[in-house]
Symmetry: C2
Subunit: 329 residues, 2 copies
DNA sequence: CTGAAAGCGCTTACAG
DNA sequence: CTGAAAGCGCTTACAG
């Protein structure tokens, strides 16, 4: 089909190996030949066959992205999409390809990740860390594939990019306090997640520093029904609550709004702080203070760290924290 | 690193070619040898090197997915994410990999699609059709890469899976009429998109059949400001409008709600029909009639059609339309 | 049914 | 600086 290195070599009247060296930017080619070859490559728009290159270099030029959740279930909706998009464009900038890997579905353990790793189609991995499969992690590490986490993982210390969850939380709570709220409750996601705990720490810190009571904390899963039930319980237990801090955005927060409204609460009369901004909030008619994560930068940074590893220059630090941006509405 | 076919052959005391034939499920191997080889492959968990296989077979085992829009801009938010997820799992079921390809950003024409195609890393493509780049389509076709569209493309007739836009529209409008609405206006997306025109046709059809006036049609871009302006214009021009049909969901619809509310309209007093369901609507406190697209099936079907092409059995028909499901809230 | 050999299109020592 | 040759791990005629 396409042109091969042999043909380019013939056109340029040089050996295949010379063309190859030019292709790979190696030193030790006369300026004259290099230019001649480059010109021809340009003119005929030659692209080396990636399979052949991969076979001899033992590198595929493709990066895998492991999404933490399967299909329908995605807490924050846009979050992972945006991360993937950022990563995809950064990976492309490096001339590599991105392969999306979703968690294996029941009954199909063989496909996907394991096959991709075992067949060496993947040079490196970016992994959504909030929920990892130990068996797969073991495989990845035993095959010596470089990887970086998005979000810190509590069981496995490794390169990761995350936001400053605690600081973000603290800023939100400080804002709420500045606005005059005192009886602030917290509806929090599952405790297993590292980021949940960090956000909670931030909440407690500021509350206690301000001499306020930090005991109104409710944990719940991300399922809407659970979130709604929890919200209902909260206002029944502490009817004088004047503000609520929610540690996750997306439909989780929406479900809570809904339960409150259904419980007869006017959402304008209560303060809200939410970790994770969401475009949807633009369309709500009551004020919310949110922490916006620098999603694009996170994706870009994670990709950079991965390529640094691939190049043999791993960063000194494991954890890379990016600041969040507080949004007032 | 990993085991090679040579080692498997040695373990089984056969020739490499025999192992290869077993690997590829070819006929003409004695039961005894086949079983012996299979057993070993199992035991040592052998995975053929994909680059080597790709090089000799001239097939990579990877499918590309071209997203129609770049990064931040995505009309329906969840729509493309869900399609991609469905496709990803179906592709995995076939033992292949999925590569996500986002539209090239300004100034980086070289990476991504063109490189992927030219270097033959991609066996086939699934393409979000609502906005295609003619130059790239030309490249794809000249390289003879099989593809299938998600959504019909107006300029290029080819295999595609779509929903029945017109019928869905008709059902929504019929419902609105059944609910007693008569002065129904339509806020529609850009006319360039085929599906927009089909949805509009559905609207006009039913209105005219019912003897109602179908002239209250407003086109707008998907940008929120435009949508909001259009909504405002609509109620100023036709203040007696009692229902609005919106041809696209997501933040487009939300922006319209917002503009109406801002314009002093009580959203409970007006009927709404929207093409494209959205989980968000669960959280709104006024009734909406929507058309829910069978997103998962669309992804699955598109993938199936692509693999059928790859196998040399292209379907007879170009267009494959799936029915929508009307949701009443 | 079985296997030796050539070939896929690159890269990488190596010798000159 | 340059090029001939071997090798990467598969598959595919081909001969037996």
């Amino acid at each position: 089909m396409g042109l091969t290195i042999k043909e380019i070599a013939e056109m340029a009247q040089v050996a295949k190996s010379t063309v190859s060296k030019v292709l790979n930017g190696q030193k030790g080619i006369s300026e004259e030949k290099r230019n001649r070859i480059l010109k021809i490559i340009q003119e005929v728009n030659y692209q080396p066959n990636s399979a052949a290159r991969a076979l001899s270099k033992k590198q595929n030029g493709t990066i895998g992205f492991i999404l933490p959740h399967e299909a329908g279930y995605s807490l924050s909706g846009l979050y992972w999409t945006e991360i993937v998009t950022a990563v995809a464009s950064e990976v492309a900038r490096h001339g590599n390809n991105l392969m999306i890997i979703t968690p294996a579905e029941e009954g199909e353990p063989f496909h996907n990740l394991e096959a991709a790793i075992r067949s060496h189609v993947i040079d490196g991995l970016i992994i959504g860390a909030e929920q990892i499969d130990t068996k797969n992690m073991y495989l990845i590490m035993s095959e010596n594939i470089p990887f970086v986490f998005i979000g810190q993982n509590q069981t496995l210390q490794h390169f990761c990019v995350d936001v400053d969850n605690q600081e973000g939380s603290e800023k939100i709570i400080s804002q709420l306090i500045d606005h005059g709220y005192k009886k602030i409750a917290c509806i929090s996601g599952p405790q297993e997640y590292q980021y949940t705990r960090e956000r909670l720490d931030g909440f407690r810190n500021i509350m206690m520093n301000a001499g306020l009571e930090a005991g109104r904390v409710f944990h719940t899963s991300y399922h809407e029904e659970d979130a709604m039930k929890t919200a209902t319980t909260l206002i029944e237990t502490f009817p004088d609550t004047d503000a609520i801090y929610i540690t996750a955005g997306g439909t989780f927060a929406l479900a809570i709004f809904d339960a409150l409204r259904f419980g007869g609460i006017s959402l304008k009369d209560i303060g809200f702080g939410i970790f994770d901004d969401n475009k949807i909030f633009d369309f709500l008619d009551f004020p919310i203070i949110t922490a916006e994560q620098p999603i694009k930068q996170m994706g870009t940074l994670a990709t950079k760290i991965l390529f640094d590893q691939l190049a043999g220059n791993p960063p000194k630090e494991f954890i890379h924290r990016l600041p969040v941006n507080i949004v007032l509405r």
